[in-house]
Amino acid sequence: MTIRFGNLRPKKGNIHINKERCKGCGFCVEFCPRDVLELSEEFNKKGYHPPRVVKADECIYCQLCEAICPEFAIFVTLKKEEEKGEESESRP
């Protein structure tokens, strides 16, 4: 059962990864509260393993990955259908 408070609904995010800018530190993967990301096997041009999205639907648009990335290589936008909901920020 999903508990709702007023018209607040869980938010969903679209994750954007700039693979070439990533240095594979793993911060985003480690600290995502929903285990949405994992480091891929693939190499980028610099030889690092960028993250990839494994559970896209689990993303709650908390933007922690965006805030923690030391390379400014990942960010999240609010999924369109949710945009009418109330604005809130839930960074740690």
Partner: protein, 289 residues
Amino acid sequence: MSREELAEEKNPMEDFLRMDRIPHIWCPGCGIGTVVTSFADALKKSELDLDKVAVVSGIGCTGRVAGYVKFDSFHTTHGRAIPFATGLKLANPELKVVVFSGDGDIVGIGGNHLIHAARRNMDIVVICVNNFNYAMTGGQVAATSPMGANLSTAPYGNFEYPFNLPYLVETCGATYVARWTSLHIRRVTKSIQEALAKRGFSFIEVITPCVTLYARRNRLGDGLNLLKYYYDQSEIQHGADTRTVGIDYQGKLIVGKFVDKEKPTFLDGMNTHLQKVLGEKYVPYGVKP
């Protein structure tokens, strides 16, 4: 691709960075980049006029920040970020002046400037990234290196007493003092926001992993290990007596907002004094009409 989709592809940080200089020089797993995002976030939330914000750094890995952020910024010589910022603030009191630099730069070679800016309650914000060493030049002992830590100039371990930064700046007169680790993202942002909103000398110490030198020499793992370790070692004690917040090697880290008080700034003091002495003929300086 529609216009909207294109706009979505841009990382919001790109508005705050000189993108022609990115990727930056920082090592994979270095924490400095995260602190830059917290800073940008604080500026966004502060709703300050960004044309009236100036960022000043000295030399070091952290010192590169002035070169990466898209504000009026200046990359000064080693240790001289605070005197440069002081001049900037006094010449143009409308500016919000932020010093963003490393522990070696601010507290080592620039230590004298730090204590005097705090003593005079100069109206600037200082963000000091403390990675416990002179990172850029190869991991030498800094004034913040904990006793027992291994550094390139202390191959048998450091035996010098380190500075306790919050205590140092509070004693000298700072009106806002906080310490966090770089993983306390929202708290770093909030502290910077509070400091930006405040008049007077504000000092925010951010304990940040240096993976390539400090972590490697001390076999502390990678950036992720160190980031987590610092966070786990942290204990939040707002208002803690700063005499008690010294840092031992791999020991407990007392973090929080330690000082937040009001006191006339350097310019307040100058105006009050000269008005008293010179009376009507003195025109107060740097006061909004």
